[in-house]
């Protein structure tokens, strides 16, 4: 009665043809994610903004109309003109060029911080979640201890003691941020731990390391990626805050936080400086958040128990 039953090896398999057919039909996972991502217009917009930002950051030396640290004391706090589309700051430096170079710093901080702290956090979270027991206790209590520090004061202290510059800021922000990755990773691991496919992997003889790398990691990756896109703007904000408070990157290197700071001093003379640098931060943060939202939906389809 059933035509779709066949015995092992009884049916001749035209392997070449089957594989040909497969290749035609294959839609990769990434394509699927992109298809779903495209539906979210806001996320698409965010992605566009981010791409622009990245291009600007990379090609700042070519794109910037002026040298960002070249001062011009005869033309300070100027209003927009053809030569200076966004005006100049209190030392006569071109605001647009400083913004462009600032994007470099902002993105560098955002990505580096998230990369390093994400790496550390995810690894420790995986270990805590899968091992459990006292290892879990030690890691998670360490996380609690780090979380108990007031972020900004912690960062201030660290940046001051490590000296000025880019890397102290990255370390300061990263030291706080890894805890968030560790927590979310551990939480995800615990929710997957009782799924049958973990046990079933054990039953076919997968080693413990493989189970972590092939079964846990791919399943928590979507959450991590989303987390990362939310944490990047947070890192940019935190770095800007530290700049604003006067630690971290020092003038004449341009950073958005420093621009907001000096802009705010001269607000009554020329509000443009503080506005554009503030807007740059806001737009970047929003763009990352939009992309994060879109990614969450795109990466997390109704996989489990879906129709």
């Amino acid at each position: 009665m059933t035509k779709d039953d066949s015995y092992f090896g009884e049916k001749e398999i035209d392997l070449e043809k089957e594989i040909e057919d497969l290749k035609k039909k294959e839609t990769s996972q990434i394509e699927l994610v992109w298809l779903r991502f495209k539906r979210n217009k806001l996320a698409l917009f965010g992605l566009g903004v981010l791409l622009m930002l990245i291009i600007v950051a990379i090609f700042a030396p070519i794109l910037a109309p002026h040298d960002p640290i070249k001062t011009d004391i005869y033309n300070t706090r100027a209003y927009p003109s053809l030569e200076h589309p966004l005006g100049t700051d209190q030392l006569g430096r071109d605001t647009l060029s400083r913004l462009m170079y600032g994007a470099r710093i902002a993105l560098l901080i955002g990505l580096l911080v998230v990369f390093v702290s994400g790496g550390i956090g995810v690894t420790l979270g995986l270990i805590a979640g899968t091992k459990g027991g006292w290892i879990d206790e030690v890691i998670m209590r360490t996380v609690d201890a780090f979380l108990a520090f007031p972020t900004l004061i912690f960062g201030l202290a660290l940046a001051t003691s490590l000296g000025f510059g880019l890397y102290p800021v990255i370390i300061a922000v990263g030291l706080v941020m890894w805890t968030r990755f560790a927590r979310i990773t551990r939480g995800e691991v615990l929710s997957i731990k009782n799924e049958m496919f973990i046990e079933s992997a054990e039953a076919i003889g997968e080693s413990k390391t493989h189970i972590v790398l092939r079964y846990f990691l791919p399943n928590i990756l979507p959450s991590i990626v989303v987390m990362a896109t939310i944490q990047i703007p947070w890192a940019i904000l935190a770095a800007a805050a530290l700049n604003y408070l006067g630690v971290g990157i020092q003038p004449p290197t341009s950073s958005w936080g420093e621009m907001v700071k000096s802009g705010s001093v001269y607000m009554q003379f020329n509000p443009l400086l503080v506005t554009v640098s503030g807007m740059a931060i806001v737009i970047t943060v929003l763009a990352f958040n939009f992309v994060g939202d879109g990614l969450r939906d795109a990466l997390d389809p109704v996989r489990r128990g879906g129709k």
């Binding site: 066949s6 089957e18 496919f197 079933s200 489990r304």
Partner: protein
């Protein structure tokens, strides 16, 4: 000839309320080539038993033998290589497949781990072959679990378990999440695979009619204990243990002229601090004073094994 055997196997869990005696002193055996059905109500420990036998969970005490070899304390690389010969199919195919892996990946892993194939071509041939056997096609290789129906997912799970050509398979309610028409297909496939590969099954289920149709021998569990085990037909024709009798009477038959009785009153007691003596005594219509005092051993009677004081 026993393929799998346990000796006084125990598995206890610690819980907030006390020690859960999920499997409590069970000695059971699976003979080569047979299907051993294991039935019982929820909380009787049948699922835990299956997992403990496969060493997916560590036994508390007792011994497990596989093919005559003591595997109780086997671990690491030795245990992993033994997994080629034994496997499990779970009840819920949705959760049993990794949502981030295609069907190809699912079949690929076991073949790679156990060095079952020499070339990529041989591997593909094998995969397509077993998929065909399971009523699936090569095109399913590139599918993700969420793109498959429940029945197809379960077929992938079975294909994955069978592609290593194991000697022993624990089937833990493999069809209870599926529709009946799908269920009968899966059962036929399992039956065919059994004859083809000479696999022995331990078929765990709460569906007594189903177990009746497919098992050679039958084990009945109650509250972590094995209460009756023997030839399936014998037990179905003439159940001896009072629990087995009551259980069978509770099973509705697909025949409007036969109505069930509800001989079992009350609830199954909690496996946390089970009653002393015979676990079934508080619900047993024929319990005597000895039943509440002493725990009956599994003894030979009527060509089977029964754990009941009445058959001493």
């Amino acid at each position: 000839m026993n393929l799998v055997e346990t000796e006084n196997l125990k598995k206890f869990f610690d819980s907030k309320k006390g020690t859960v005696k999920a499997v409590n002193d069970v000695s059971i055996n699976v003979i080569k080539g047979e299907t051993l059905g294991v039935v019982g109500e929820s909380g009787c420990g049948k699922t835990t038993l299956g997992r403990t036998i496969l060493k997916l969970i560590k036994p508390t005490s007792g011994k497990i033998y596989f093919d005559g070899k003591d595997i109780t304390n086997l671990d690491g690389e030795d245990m992993r290589s033994l997994r080629k010969k034994m496997n499990i199919v779970f009840q819920d195919p949705v959760s049993a497949l990794n949502p981030q892996m295609t069907v190809y990946d699912h079949l690929n892993r076991p073949l790679v781990i156990h060095n079952m194939v020499d070339s990529e071509e041989e591997k593909l041939r094998r995969m397509v072959d077993i998929l065909n056997t399971m009523g699936l096609k090569a095109e399913h290789l590139i599918r993700y679990p969420h793109e498959l129906s429940g029945g197809q997912k379960q077929r992938v799970c079975i294909a994955r378990a069978l592609c290593l050509e194991p000697d022993f398979l624990v089937l833990d309610e493999p069809t209870s999440a599926l529709d009946v028409s799908v269920q009968s297909k899966i059962l036929k496939l399992l039956d065919r695979a059994k004859r083809k590969f000479k696999v022995s099954y331990m078929f765990i289920s709460h569906n007594i009619n189903l177990v009746r149709a497919i098992s050679d021998r039958l084990g009945v569990m109650y509250l972590g204990k094995l209460v009756e085990i023997g030839d399936s037909t014998d037990i179905f024709n003439e159940p001896k243990h009072p629990y087995t009798q009551a259980l069978f009477k509770s099973v509705p038959q697909p025949d409007p002229d036969e109505k069930v009785e509800a001989p079992l009153t009350g609830q199954v007691p909690s496996p946390v601090n089970p009653p002393e003596g015979c676990a079934f005594a508080p619900r047993c219509p024929r319990s005597q004073s000895v039943c509440e005092r002493d725990n009956p051993d599994l003894i030979e009677a009527y060509g089977r094994k029964i754990a009941c004081h009445r058959y001493k």
